[in-house]
């Protein structure tokens, strides 16, 4: 049973396009929602994160949209570049000790 559901599994866009990755959760106790970026052969690295009292957060070309009532959140990458090609994971944290519950991941390819 996956507590954080992520879609799509893979995504191909052209350079300059705006890929959108979606995540949904059930547990209303989740109180922190990070996105991690992973390049092949590397560990995941924090990209951007949001708390449920905020509906949108932007950092550079990356934006998280958060819909608390629908229990959904999404990552938008503006003006995508080939260097953005990576696997993206949404995650959720509940309670203490910052334990992460990950979505299954989205493999993004940005073609020149």
């Amino acid at each position: 049973q996956q507590q954080v559901k992520q879609s799509p599994q893979s995504l191909i866009v052209q350079k300059g396009g705006i890929p959108i990755i979606n995540c949904a959760y059930e547990n209303t106790a989740f109180d922190y929602f990070p996105w991690y970026q992973q390049f092949p052969g590397k560990g995941p690295a924090l990209l951007i994160a949001i708390r449920p009292d905020v509906s949108e957060k932007k950092e550079g070309r990356f934006t998280i949209s958060f819909n608390k009532s629908a229990k959904q959140f999404s990552l938008h990458i503006m003006d995508s570049q080939p260097g953005d090609s990576a696997t993206y994971f949404c995650a959720a944290v509940s309670g203490g000790y910052n334990k992460l519950i990950f979505g299954a991941g989205t493999r993004l390819a940005v073609h020149p």
Partner: protein, 111 residues
């Protein structure tokens, strides 16, 4: 700072063998974690520690053991390796804040 380091990078084990995956961080982080990553499954938490001498189970602890005798080190032990433990293992740490810092991973194959 080297951050989070993991050894070995790769390892092949035979069924029933044992091994220890090493994880060290030099950021003086109190929280440390072990995850496994399987294709199409995301990362799943195996064990975590909130300080030296304190460890607890995550989502998928069966077949693994951990210890935390120092702030810096958090080794993961596989006692009787099984093919189901073929995976990529990541160690992470944080200073009680939200950002977890991940190591480069250990790719383990059990044959």
């Amino acid at each position: 700072n080297a951050g989070v380091t993991q050894t070995p990078k790769f390892r092949i084990l035979k069924i029933g063998q044992s091994m220890t995956l090493q994880c060290t961080q030099d950021m003086n982080h109190n929280y440390m974690y072990w995850y496994r990553q399987d294709p199409g499954m995301g990362l799943k938490l195996i064990y975590y520690s909130v300080g030296a001498g304190i460890t607890d189970k995550g989502e998928v602890p069966n077949g693994y053991n951990v210890s935390r005798s120092t702030t810096e080190d958090f080794p993961l032990r596989l006692e009787l390796a099984a093919p189901s433990q073929t995976s990529v293992y990541f160690c992470a740490s944080t200073l009680s804040t939200d950002t977890q810092y991940f190591g480069p991973g250990t790719r383990l194959t059990v044959l």
